[in-house]
Amino acid sequence: MNALVLVGSPKGRNSSSFLLGSKLAEGLRNHGAAVREELAHPALRTEDGTRRLLDAVDASDLVVLSFPLYVDSLPSPLTLLLELVAGRRAGAAMAGSPRLAAIVQCGFPEAHQCDTAVGICRLFAGRTGMRWAGALAMGMGGSLERGFRKLPGGGRNILRALDMASETLAGGGDIPGEAATLFATPLMPRWMYTLFGNLGWRVQLRRNRARKPLAHRPHSQ
């Protein structure tokens, strides 16, 4: 089986989406799939890169989108890719119907805030003749910045969920509900995440030697 893991974060290899996508790719390989990993943003900047991505989608039996939630939805370049794939599949008699799965993470504590983005991916699959294979969605994505090992409990729920998902996806199945539940399990209490998150913004502001406070209003109303 040929799988394409497509990372939709503009931060590329430094992103939580890459971390999660790569771990899933590793699991897919361990279960016998041939896996190609691509970064959507740099590829979509050029015509060649765009064509390469579209060809890679066509050549895959399974496409996995791994991306951060941007304004309740997919980052814009990934939206553009969906438009291009849909255009290509509408314009030609497609031989196969690859499966589509998604890994979505957001910076809010609640995994359900990813629901609209997951819905868009599912609808895209349905409208383009692809088969929806499910999604893993998690909140507290900001905690992933320092890797799995620094997560509470070593991120065991996330790793277990990715392992379960890779096994079933490689075998031609859908992401199991149990994996989605594990993946969505909060990594820590909500109060703790927001407390550390708020402190983190201040630390970054200081590190960047910003001249204005976090609450600065550059535009008068």
């Binding site: 503009p10 997919l74 939206t79 969906l82 609640e110 868009i120 550059p218 535009h219």
Partner: protein, 191 residues
Amino acid sequence: MKALVLDGSREGDALTTVAVLGVRAALEGRGAVVEHAILRKLSVAPCTGCFGCWTRTPGECVFGDDARDVVRSYLDSDVVVYATPVTFGGYSSLLKATLDRIILPVLDPRFTVVGGEVHHRLRYRRYPKTVGLGTLPTPDPEAERLFAALVSRNGLNVQQAAEAVVLAGVTDPASAKMFAERLLDRVGVPR
């Protein structure tokens, strides 16, 4: 009253053009000064996710393209219209690129609880009401439901009223205006 129409249509998208004509007429009929931003004619690069608008130059994107002017117009408006072909229940990539660039800088990164879930704090005292105006060639209940849910969630981000409608196969401006009038009533834009 000021209104900003963010037009996420591609060249040749007759349905969204008609929808925009309808909503402009409805807004102008209510005395609004309407700014029509045709996004395909602007230069707005995709957000790079650097968080510079939060932790380097708070409130302002570090990139100086047309998105900065759109942010200014957004904050000056009483109502913002997201006009777009419904794209798998979401926005067109043109509109999405603009929203990705304008919503982050108008919010304060720190967290707060709104309606039982965590969102970012508001940076400004006042935000426009959000109106989603989607178009489809034919009715698609699943896409329409998802579009309404997305617009509603976008309203939560800025703690403002948000309403949406999808015009399916509407090709005459008079009908589009009628739908727009109902939409503006629902979101509370005064006549």
